[in-house]
Amino acid sequence: MNFAAPSLDHDRAQALFGQLVDEQLAPAEEQALRSHLDACADCQHELERYARTVTLVRSLERERAPAELAAQVMKRVRRRRRHLFGLQGGRFFEHVSMPAEVAVPVVLVAIAAAALIVLLLQ
């Protein structure tokens, strides 16, 4: 049984161009669109312009990343890691301003407290 394709107005017809170009239209919609296009020179012209543009965009040359990008990324990753360890480890005391005459007793007291805790736990 043949169903007549529903007629489309210009706006509805043009809204289907994207799916037509991407081959995603259902057969009934495509038939309706083709019927409209057969009778509408304006929409035909719009479709040509639309499809030509999509084809041109798809034919543009791709940009290629410089070959050294991976090395540059690794350099950035290592720099960040060093910075992070610097803050958490080796250079910690550079970020804490404490004179030696205060720092030494503080460290000794901390060690003594830790030893006391260990003894008490035993």
Binding site: V21, D22, A51, V54, T55, R62, E63, R64
Partner: protein, 225 residues
């Protein structure tokens, strides 16, 4: 120019009947090469989670061209795009262990790149370096010189047309430009684009259509100038 127009228009119309080499959302289940690709991706992910540095270099090499291409088109500045590509991959390095694998690795990488890119565009706009304005003011000759290497089979009129298209893309708003680049340059499926842009698939389709229609109008205007 007229000859090139006809040639390209002819190709465009014939492309309507020829199937496009693209993965669409309604594509059949994964084929054997696709399954092999998924398996390889899972292996790579396992190595990445273990902190294998060589695996990370492999990942960068595999995805660098697509990320860089997207960023050049979005930012319109190769130096800025190169810096941001490094930033994107450094951030991927920091967060890949937390990637749960709910989408394809490539889709996730594009999503990270998109987020960084939109932030950078906002930052550049605040500094009054709006990319589209900048590109649209660049003389044609300079744009042409910046264009990727010429194809040997490309004649002058085709080159001019493609330069107009590049210029038109630069004039689109960010959202339209992103959708157009992901679909028509990177060749991603609607499903992947919906995942990257975090929009429903139907919204992606209608906005992409508007992007293409705007570009078609812009190119026609630029041709008349």
């Amino acid at each position: 120019m007229a000859e090139a127009f006809e040639e390209v228009a002819g190709a465009a119309c014939s492309s309507l009947s020829a199937p496009l080499d693209r993965k669409d959302s309604d594509a059949p289940p994964a084929s054997a090469p696709e399954s092999a690709e998924l398996w390889r991706e899972r292996q790579l992910l396992r190595r990445l989670r273990r902190g294998d540095e060589r695996a990370f270099v492999e990942l960068v090499r595999e995805h660098q061209d697509r990320v860089y291409d997207l960023l050049v088109r979005m930012l319109g500045d190769r130096e800025e795009a190169l810096d941001l590509s490094q930033e994107v991959f450094a951030s991927i390095h920091a967060s890949v262990a937390r990637f749960r694998g709910e989408s394809r690795l490539s889709t996730w990488i594009f999503r990270v790149a998109k987020n960084h890119c939109l932030n950078r565009l906002k930052y550049l706009q605040r500094r009054h370096r709006h990319r589209s304005t900048e590109i649209s003011n660049v003389p044609e000759g300079v744009l042409e010189a910046c264009a990727p290497s010429r194809r040997p089979d490309e004649n002058l009129a085709e080159r001019e047309l493609r330069a107009l298209v590049r210029r038109g893309i630069a004039l689109l708003d960010e959202e339209h430009r992103l959708l157009l680049v992901l679909r028509d340059i990177e060749g991603l499926s609607y499903h992947e684009i919906a995942d990257i842009t975090e929009q429903p698939e139907g919204t992606v389709k209608s906005r992409l259509h508007r992007a293409r229609a705007s570009l078609a109008r812009l190119v026609a205007q630029l041709e008349k100038e």
